[in-house]
Symmetry: C2
Subunit: 143 residues, 2 copies
Amino acid sequence: MNKKVYFAGSIRGGRTDAALYRRIIEYIQRTDAVLTEHVGKPELNLLERGRDRDGEIYRQDTAWLRESDLLIGECTCPSLGVGYELAYAERYGIPCHLFYDRRKVQLSAMLTGDPYFRIYPYEDPEEIFPILRRILDGQEPQV
Amino acid sequence: MNKKVYFAGSIRGGRTDAALYRRIIEYIQRTDAVLTEHVGKPELNLLERGRDRDGEIYRQDTAWLRESDLLIGECTCPSLGVGYELAYAERYGIPCHLFYDRRKVQLSAMLTGDPYFRIYPYEDPEEIFPILRRILDGQEPQV
């Protein structure tokens, strides 16, 4: 309980799944803290802000990542930022649990081939929540 | 001359830019070696192969990355794999030079905000090649 969760979802890579990100974030927030709540917000600014101001985002996000207890990623929408965050999380030993809709995409071999990541393909987004419950409760998800 | 170049481009994230990847790879190959020549091939298999066989891809690609002299990335098409490779390359101190079409996309703040990456936005793919020439010749690109 009261884990610090880094939620990873696409921002500039595409907002197709933003409503699902929001549902996942709100579900986690019932019991735990989400450091990256903004990823679920529909009104998020998607424009580049120049290297200095993007640098502030980068420093904040990587600081959150290093202090998080675990990362939950929704990986259906391809995203350079999420890919970067996953390798960064691995470097710092942050446990990573990744969901994606297997009806829609083939996940990168850099993720499916890396034994560090726990990966949960789903066919219906409703499958996410019972798995998430077990992850947040510190139990081994049964999939 | 005869540098070992890791070319990074989207595979399962989308093949919209595959013809451009191929042009870049063939340009590099005039003077240097591209470890990831397959990224430019139109007939590439895009399907997941299960965690074991994807593991072979992962181990091969990360081994190539560690032994490369530099990474050239075409980042217009969002890709989890490319994002992962960029953070991995940074971890191992491999110099990274990234191109993207600024007419088409906003690049992730995890890349634009990270001072480690050299980034070259372009509006016409022809702009890539003179910059690439200078990078491969070991000169500081003027942009």
